[in-house]
Symmetry: C2
């Protein structure tokens, strides 16, 4: 008799975006209003940059001729991309990462979900609350216990060190959903904790390209000692509009270890290499060439322009909402704004009001965890004109 | 203290292709011979078909304009591709599969490796010997017990039903590495076994496009009842030269169930959907458009031509090797030939002789399991002229 993995039955239903879509649909049907604008959109809207598009055309042309056709690539990614990553994202910041410490993937979601497979079932996992649901659900699927680290106004959305011992800590900074950041000193506390407790940090740096302040680290490896305790996830999704192209990478320094029950230290780099070689067959050649192009001078300039476009949205959103009396967090080094609901109403009630009164859609913060209730997440990924129009409507509603 | 997943430490080292490369390198250095031809190559060599290349160019052009840009796609794949799959691979054969039973992925290796995640740890897994190593290693990583089903000359490489009860059975037909097939009656025995024992069949149909004989099933769903017990994996890698493009799909019929410890039946389709939604973010839009193009009239004609090119190699290889006195299996409905070594020498000794005497590379059968010893795997994926030249050398060596 084949048995099911019963951990899957412990997952809470996650219908956040389905629920949002349903409420919007129902509102439109009831009211007859068609023109609803989303400020909650989690996906980019600007087209793929020219450099990446050209790289895809070139790669497709290569694939069409036997003499330049490429079949299976290395499971770890092509060296042309791994080298561009090392130079572009680490050496340029004075961080020493080896090419064989970089594993190219089909997007950070896969690896933030998969990486827990190489650590034991009995590790206690620490997650911030609110949190990107993938960290939570992938660990529940594997049957692990999760400890929550509340991120609140009171602690400036910087989690406190846990009171009970934890083995693995997921940190995502710049943060999804709060848009807040860790300064170097905040992050150093976590690296020190991990060194002291023999813990691991799984650091999601998917939004590092949005950082504008100099004292905010782009990589955890800017902190001494992190190369012994931290794995880092990167993505081209938001940096370069690759949400549909699919490419990211994971850094697993050779010095990072975990222990066996008998206390033997085991390096995670070869274990992850084995996992990827067994359960993954490399990222599409087309996507890897597109990602390489992001590091070219034109690619850098073009992706920078898109990020500035989004961050101009973020800046205006922050200004207008503050002027209207909202408490707004994030949005400075991240494409997300975390907005306190007025009068402490719960996330969904505010969602409904905003939809009905201003015909604007947001993402209820409670969808990211209990500590997210009383907040909504707004994103800077909209079209500029649409974003301005949405803000105009919010103003009109509140000043009515 | 973070603990490692110790199951990884139980994996046997798998250096098959690295060992082959090393021996070839050493031979070249010692002998000064540079012109070594591989008949062991597991990757396609023909370029991507025109229809797929055109689809990639078109998709890249769409991505370059905001109004047609595509960001995140559905984790399960776009309906345009799922519908093409249902029509092209199932409806056309009279098999009823729903669009929501098809999950597009980045290649069959990922899902044959990942699918075990949704079944329990205590299932006993049956694998043929020899076998594609991914099934074995992904289950060892998860800590499961594996039972081997020997595939030998005596049973025509058709595994016998197991003597002890097994919960999950992996079958790959047309088979990698033996190139042999299951006729409908053979496959029906396994479906009946699964129905009777409440077992699941994970059916890898990655090579179905190479089938030429009418009595060989292309899909396990040609067998009545399979829709209750079988999951099926497909790939565009060998069918359409997508080894570098990365696209495949998995069929999870809604009727397939497994049980909880307390005996409750749970459908696997929603569980797999949850797994994919959590740990995967969809296949590249470029790759999905390329895969869709494979089902167009031009795409079908072009991919068929490539398959015929490879199968012409297979046919000539079989004819020449048999004429030279080898026992050759497979190669009729599959791109693989499974060749008995002369005088029962072990796989690696024959590998060395073939390399030294004929300057031809094969894949030692023992690399796929103990029952593969005394065999080598040859593939039909070489360039035609190179394949002919390799055969000429083998003939010259043996007739010397």
């Amino acid at each position: 008799m084949a048995f099911v993995n019963e951990n899957f039955l412990k997952l809470s239903d996650n219908y956040l975006f389905a629920d949002i879509a349903k409420r919007v649909r129902e509102f439109k049907a009831e009211s007859g209003v068609e023109d609803v604008i989303s400020l909650g959109i989690g996906d980019v809207t600007q087209p793929l940059c020219e450099a990446a598009v050209k790289a895809i055309h070139d790669a497709a042309a290569e694939m069409s001729v036997a003499s330049t056709f490429r079949g299976y690539g290395p499971e770890q990614g092509y060296d042309f991309l791994r080298e561009a990553i090392v130079m572009g994202d680490f050496m340029s910041r004075g961080i020493k990462i080896g090419v064989d410490e970089v594993f190219v993937n089909d997007g950070a979601k896969s690896d933030t979900g998969n990486f827990q497979e190489i650590v034991g079932k009995d590790n206690i996992i620490a997650l911030t609350d609110p949190v990107y649901p993938v960290y939570m659900d992938s660990n529940i699927m594997a049957g692990r216990r999760v400890v929550k680290l509340p991120c609140l106004v009171d602690n400036g959305f910087v989690p406190e060190l846990p009171e009970e011992h934890v083995d693995v800590i997921y940190l995502c900074y710049p943060n999804n959903p709060t848009g807040t950041v860790l300064k170097k000193d905040d992050l150093r506390k976590w690296v020190d904790y991990a060194i002291e407790h023999g813990s691991l940090i799984f650091y999601d740096a998917a939004y590092e390209a949005f950082i504008s302040n100099d004292d905010v680290p782009h990589s955890i490896y800017e902190i001494d000692g992190a190369e012994r305790v931290a794995v880092e996830f990167h993505s081209f999704s938001k940096t370069a509009g690759f949400t549909g192209v699919r490419c990211g990478y994971t850094v697993v320094p050779k010095e990072v270890t975990a222990v066996t029950a008998s206390g033997k230290r085991v390096r995670l780099n070869p274990l992850w290499n084995r996992r990827q070689s067994t359960k993954f067959n490399g990222t599409s050649y087309l996507s890897q060439r597109a990602a390489e192009a992001v590091y070219s001078p034109e690619g850098r300039e073009q992706t920078r322009a898109a990020i500035e476009y989004y961050m101009r949205n973020a800046s205006i959103m922050g200004d207008v909402l503050r002027e209207l009396g909202f408490d707004v967090y994030g949005g400075e080094d991240a494409p997300y704004l975390w907005v306190k609901t007025p009068e402490n109403v719960d996330s969904w009630s505010f969602f409904d009001r905003l939809l009905r009164k201003a015909h604007v859609v947001c993402t209820p913060g409670v969808g990211f965890g209990q500590c997210g209730d009383g907040f909504v997440r707004l994103t800077a990924f909209g079209q500029h004109e649409q974003t301005l129009e949405a803000l105009r409507r919010v103003r009109e509603w509140l000043e009515r």
